[in-house]
């Protein structure tokens, strides 16, 4: 093997771990020099890792993570169903598009956090309000991605499908949705992070469990390492879900020219 062939996997691995190395080195440097404050305000990564291990061993980290993940997946699943259904209707049916346009174009650019207090009153302080927050952040990117994708389908694709005897209902699933998939998945990727942010913030504002609640409580009780454990955990979850999403996207769109992210 040539030296270049030996080096290639090493280089590949390096670029995967490189951002983590940079962030940890910077974190360690800031904590070591006390540039952002003392050890209490800015504990070094090692202290936070020790604390994370403690919380992992007593089971609380796993429990809080599961609570957050559950809300995120429910919110994201609902947003996918509603976003793709409504988005397809908006993209394909003129009457629906006209009827929903003013409502969607008002709600889409609106910062959803403005609606959090009203939604808290409607849905209460339990898990359902967090799911609604995550849903409200996630549904619009999917809906607009789907509407954009399904409205720009090559008419020739639909003509050929119908001339080959595909019924309109069949061609929806076999032609329209697959052709719109790149655009749907672009929205769905943004929505994934949106769902996590909505749920996490919801737990911070008014929660009784979950990683967001863990962070807010740690701030109030001045257990600073716990704050770092919570935000690092939720960020890692977001990163892993985002990476998984991109992998799934690549295999789903292997046939498409728009496979490149």
């Amino acid at each position: 093997m040539s030296p270049a062939a030996v080096l290639r996997p090493v280089v590949w691995v390096w670029w995967r771990v490189y951002p983590f190395v940079v962030i940890l080195a910077l974190w360690w440097f800031l904590a070591d020099r006390g540039l952002l404050g003392n050890r209490f305000v800015m504990p070094p990564p090692g202290d936070v890792l020790d604390r994370a291990r403690e919380l992992f061993d007593d089971g609380s980290l796993v429990d809080e993570t599961l609570v957050t993940l559950r809300s995120v997946f429910i919110a994201y699943g609902l947003a996918m169903v509603v976003g793709i259904l409504l988005g397809t209707l908006i993209g394909r049916v003129r009457a629906v598009r006209l009827a929903l346009r003013p409502i969607v174009s008002f709600l889409f650019p609106t910062p959803k956090v403005a609606l959090y207090p009203a939604m808290t009153i409607i849905f209460g302080l339990g898990a359902s309000s967090k799911i609604v927050f995550g849903f409200s952040e996630a549904v619009f990117p999917i809906l607009l991605g789907t509407a954009a994708g399904t409205s720009q389908i090559e008419p020739r694709l639909l003509w050929s499908a119908s001339s080959l005897g595909t019924s309109e209902r069949q061609s929806l699933l076999r032609v329209v949705i697959p052709a719109a998939l790149p655009s749907i998945l672009t929205g769905a990727r943004i929505a994934m992070v949106g769902a996590i942010i909505g749920v996490f913030l919801g737990e911070m504002i008014a929660g009784s469990s979950g990683l967001g609640h863990m962070m807010a409580v740690a701030y109030r009780t001045l257990e600073t390492p716990d704050m770092y454990v919570a935000i690092v955990t939720v960020s890692l979850i977001g990163y892993l879900l985002d990476r998984t999403f991109l992998l799934a996207r690549r295999s789903l769109l292997a046939w498409s020219a728009e496979e490149a992210p």
């Binding site: 670029w15 490189y18 951002p19 983590f20 940079v22 962030i23 952002l36 404050g37 305000v41 800015m42 003129r94 009457a95 006209l98 009827a99 929903l100 346009r101 003013p102 409502i103 008002f106 709600l107 650019p109 609106t110 910062p111 959803k112 956090v113 403005a114 609606l115 959090y116 207090p117 009203a118 808290t120 009153i121 409607i122 992070v193 996590i196 942010i197 996490f200 913030l201 911070m204 504002i205 967001g212 962070m215 807010a216 701030y219 600073t224 704050m227 770092y228 935000i231 939720v234 960020s235 979850i237 977001g238 990163y239 879900l241 985002d242």
Partner: protein, 268 residues
């Protein structure tokens, strides 16, 4: 639609085509607001959880007239404007350089990919520990919140421009800095402007979210204090006002871009 001959027929056909465009949106909005009005009145939902639309609108007028409202909006707007301006001043040059110089892209992009899913608004709790609850934390969180979309869109814009443009500029003996300002930046502008539109929405979210997590002044704190005090009507009025402000800022931005750069094609 079949083509018809004769003026009246054409008129009817056009009216038939246009009528849904006016009627359907009006109908759906009226139905939604009407439902909001009658559902609490008929007891379908408790009026302590959803007050009728007309009462909310009356409260909106009342809130807009309160002396505290203006000052809170002003302090939020200040943080928002300053944060967005600084993020733009950092993000556009950084992203553009990344688009033109591969090594910088290789170094910065992995960091953006890893920090992209971090819930930035939550970092306000750490910022307050590091820098206290002052301007630095308040503006810093806005910068942190909206920097990534600005950098990424500037990168895509600068990366995708026609190489020939750059070559011709170089051939004409234009130096690298003037080339950046006169050739690369204008060519990347459409992408940068759509990134800024996203950044506006995210920065408003960050301002409000950070104000609600660390109370003090500002519109987010004002809104959530009403929630804590159980003032349902005020909460709904505030949500309506703030949602409308967010919508209007987006609308104004898009219109301003369209007016000042009429040559832009496609969506912003």
């Amino acid at each position: 639609m079949s083509t018809t001959r004769g003026e009246p027929r054409q008129f009817i056909a056009r009216a038939r085509h246009l009528a849904p465009q006016v009627l359907l949106p009006a109908l759906s909005v009226t139905m939604l607001l009407g439902l909001w009005e009658i559902a609490p009145r008929l007891g379908w939902v408790r009026d302590t959880s959803i007050p009728p639309f007309s009462e909310v609108i009356a409260e909106v007028v009342d809130v807009l007239g309160r002396p505290g409202f203006g000052t809170n909006v002003a302090s939020s707007a200040q943080r928002w404007g300053l944060g967005l301006a600084i993020a733009t001043a950092i993000g556009i040059p950084l992203g553009t350089l990344m688009g033109r110089w591969r090594p910088l892209y290789k170094l910065v992009d992995p960091l953006l990919v890893v920090t992209y899913p971090v819930p930035k608004t939550a970092l306000i709790l750490l910022f307050v520990l590091w820098w206290e609850a002052g301007t630095v934390s308040r503006v810093g969180i806005v910068i942190t919140g909206c920097l990534i979309p600005i950098v990424i869109s500037s990168y895509h814009g600068a990366h995708a421009i026609e190489e020939r443009l750059v070559w011709s500029a170089r051939g004409l003996g234009i130096g690298p800095i003037r080339r950046g300002v006169r050739v690369i930046l204008p060519a990347a502008l459409p992408q940068i402007l759509s990134g800024l539109r996203l950044a506006i929405a995210i920065s408003i979210f960050t301002v409000l979210g950070s104000e609600l997590l660390i109370r003090g002044d500002g519109i987010g704190a004002f809104m959530f204090t009403a929630l804590d005090n159980g003032q349902t009507l005020t909460v709904f009025a505030m949500s309506t006002i703030v949602a409308t402000i967010g919508f209007l800022l987006d609308l104004i931005y898009v219109q301003a871009v369209r007016r000042s750069l009429p040559w832009l094609e496609g969506d912003i």
